[in-house]
């Protein structure tokens, strides 16, 4: 009896110890975004995770660090294996269309109106697919023209009066070009930035590269689009005011050229400012941003929207949503903007004192009030942007005389893809 009693007591103690421990077992949520590997963002996300875990001791956030170029591949491989990280920032439309993401309307609808009103309908539209919400917009990349003030002044130009249309831009470009330096770069490298910049030129001319329901490509069909493409690529081919080797030039090479003073202006998102200062700290305070020179009044610029989503295979969506909301808090949004150059997408942040105190940031925020979102809502978009459009740009740079034909071929190819979904 004594043995039995002892055994029972030990068993009861064990159950008593294990029971609550099991009940309080930590939920581990993986978090993968391409930005986690960016040096300027690292201190912020580490603070965010630490603060969240302190407030939610039963949830552990495990950041997945993936190089930007491998981000999508790794996510797709994991999603196919039903092992995708719970919290992700990916190409939302494609991922939603492929079934990799979980709609979050049920979680969103439970939130108070004060929280939901922090996002404009336009921003939320960029995170919807077939009427369902698949992510919460977190930060964006508004494209503006960034100038090196010293080089502008050295060329005898007035920084307070940047070019407003293409003719003035070309005039500036010629003044800013010399034997071993150029006004700007034309991008043809094989990443999304090539497409993004091309679209800014098209929007600035009132062009539409696609029809309204994204079933037809109109790069060559729309005269305004074609005119913009020819002018932009002509900066390298005809006017010789762009740096050499455009078919390999991309975001990285462009910012290196800019930070080295090899080019005087670049068309880029706000995050590039941090990259340029990182490459050359002496350039800090010597840059200014301006709206993109355009041919139509009130031309929109382009803005990328990065949304945080919950993957379809996530087993703890409630906890994932709690982290997403925490990360969207004003405090972290402002810290990301000021310290890491990630522009916030909450519309209630423009008047925050820290944002207003930064002239470059507040100018970008102002320019961003008239922006069109990227990517366009179509599942084939990622492939089209990264492959077909870039390929056409490269071909046109190599054979400028065939530009129209190349973009006509592109229209045929893209229209087929858009209808083949």
């Amino acid at each position: 009896m004594t043995k039995f009693a002892t055994s029972t007591a030990v068993a009861a103690l064990l159950i008593g110890a294990i029971g609550p421990a099991a009940a309080q077992q930590r939920v581990v949520l993986q978090w993968q975004t391409p930005n986690l590997t960016e040096a300027q963002y690292e201190p912020i996300w580490k603070q965010t995770i630490a603060a969240f875990e302190a407030a939610n001791p039963n949830i552990k956030i495990e950041p997945i660090l993936v190089a930007r170029r491998d981000h999508w591949t790794k996510f797709v491989a994991a999603a196919q294996a039903r092992q995708a990280p719970c919290i992700v920032a990916v190409d939302l439309t494609t991922a939603a269309a492929e079934g990799y993401l979980r709609p979050i309307d049920d979680l969103w609808d439970k939130e108070p109106a004060a929280f939901r009103n922090a996002w404009s309908d336009d921003m939320l539209k960029a995170a919807r697919w077939k009427g369902k919400l698949y992510g919460l917009p977190n930060w964006g990349g508004v494209y503006a023209e960034i100038y090196n003030r010293e080089l502008v002044v050295k060329a005898g130009l007035d920084p307070k009066n940047p070019p407003k249309n293409w003719a003035e831009y070309l005039q500036w470009a010629k003044a800013l070009t010399g034997t071993d330096h150029w006004a700007t770069s034309v991008l043809g490298g094989k990443t999304d930035t090539t497409t993004r910049v091309l679209l800014t030129w098209i929007y600035g001319n009132g062009g539409e590269p696609f029809n309204a329901d994204m079933t037809e490509s109109r790069f060559a069909k729309d005269p305004k689009s074609l005119e913009a493409i020819k002018f932009y690529l002509g900066l390298f081919s005809d006017h010789k005011v762009a740096s050499p080797a455009p078919t390999t030039t991309n975001y990285l090479e462009q910012t290196v050229l800019f930070s080295q003073g090899k080019i005087a202006t670049m068309r880029n998102a706000y995050w590039s400012v941090a990259k340029v200062i990182g490459d050359n700290p002496q350039i800090e305070g010597k840059m200014f941003a301006a709206p993109l020179p355009a041919q139509i009044p009130n031309a929109p610029t382009l803005a990328t929207v990065t949304a945080h989503s919950i993957s379809e295979s996530c087993r703890h969506p409630e906890e994932a949503w709690r982290f997403i909301k925490f990360d969207m808090d004003k405090k972290w949004a402002v810290a990301r903007a000021v310290k890491a150059n990630w522009m916030p997408l909450r519309r209630d942040l423009a008047d925050e004192p820290e944002i207003k105190a930064d002239p470059m940031l507040s100018e970008f925020v102002r320019i961003g009030t008239n922006a069109r979102s990227y990517p366009l809502p179509h599942p084939a978009w990622a492939d089209i942007a990264a492959n077909d459009i870039v390929d056409a740009v490269q071909r046109a740079l190599l054979e400028p005389a065939r530009t129209e034909q190349i973009f006509q071929d592109l229209d045929v190819r893209l229209s087929r893809k858009l209808k083949d979904q």
Binding site: E98, P246, T247, P379, N387, D391, L397, L398
Partner: protein, 307 residues
């Protein structure tokens, strides 16, 4: 009852042999299971995938439609053409330079080990690291290659090595050659050291020239190795993605889009996994057919008496 019968010779037919065979298969079983898990099953799954139209997590059986779609696409034939060019130039240079280096290193007596290590370095560096190093060496504005050429007055403006179709193809091929030569060199060097010295001594007595020694002693002795090395090299190069993926991603304008690059882009850019699997199966079939034909043509695997 003294036994006068001779011990029976062990019979190699009948139940004894059957039992031994069975034991033999049992010993092979772990390896066969391992091969099935890592080769047969993935191959079967890839083939099964190629028969489906896959959209994310949804899948529909479409039979051979993906194959027809791939074969009707100009991109496939373009990639095949680029692959053939890339493989033939790379493998030819691997073999020629690898053999030449092996011959040189076999003769050198000073700092032999150090030189071998130096020449092996490109092979020891991972392909991704090597490609990234060359990506920046060949960078138009800041790359060392253009800097040196400009300093030597060979060029007067930056050359976009990876930005023009011809130079880009040449550049990725050169990097592939840089990385692949040490492997062939190592094989050839091992082969050279197995050639009996007496053969060369006899040739010296007969007054053979250096070329004659090479033509009639070295080459015949290395024949088997050359066939094996070139076959392995072809299989190795034809499936390469890393160098091209990092340096050009298939560009500019498709000039370096080999079949593995097309496969990657089809799967992970266009999200068409069924078609990508079909490209993979076609690539595998081509390599298999080529390897069989090549080995048959070079009579490898037959005994000397059969040759």
């Amino acid at each position: 009852m003294t036994a006068t019968t001779r011990p029976r010779a062990r019979a190699w037919t009948g139940t004894g042999l059957a039992r031994e065979r069975w034991h033999g298969y049992l010993f092979l079983l772990p390896v066969l299971l391992f091969l099935a898990a890592v080769i047969v099953l993935p191959l079967a799954h890839a083939f099964w995938t190629s028969l489906h139209r896959i959209r994310g997590l949804r899948s529909t059986f479409v039979g051979l439609a993906n194959y027809f779609r791939v074969l009707e696409d100009d991109a496939f034939w373009h990639a095949l053409k680029v692959s053939l060019g890339f493989v033939s130039v790379s493998v030819t240079l691997h073999m020629l330079l690898g053999l030449a280096l092996a011959l040189a290193l076999n003769e050198i007596r000073v700092a032999r080990t150090a030189l071998r290590v130096v020449f092996l370095t490109p092979w020891m560096v991972s392909a991704a690291v090597g490609a990234t190093i060359w990506l920046w060496l060949l960078e138009p504005q800041f790359g060392v290659v253009n800097y040196l050429l400009r300093a030597a007055d060979i060029i007067d403006r930056p050359v976009a090595w990876l930005g023009e179709p011809g130079p880009a193809f040449a550049a990725v091929t050169a990097v592939e050659v840089w990385r692949g030569v040490p492997f062939v060199m190592l094989l050839m060097l091992a082969g050279l050291q197995t050639i009996p010295v007496e053969q060369y001594e006899a040739a010296d007595i007969d007054g053979a020239s250096t070329w004659q020694r090479f033509r009639w002693i070295t080459l015949p002795n290395l024949k088997y190795l050359i066939v094996v090395a070139s076959t392995l090299d072809i299989i190795n190069v034809v499936r390469h993605y890393d160098i091209i993926g990092i340096m050009t991603a298939g560009g500019p304008a498709g000039a370096t889009e080999v079949l593995p690059a097309l496969l990657y882009n089809t799967a992970f850019r266009a999200n068409r996994f069924g078609e990508a699997a079909a490209i993979g199966v076609l690539l595998l079939a081509m390599v298999l057919v080529f390897s069989i034909l090549y080995l048959r043509a070079t009579r490898i695997g037959r005994s000397d008496g059969d040759a």
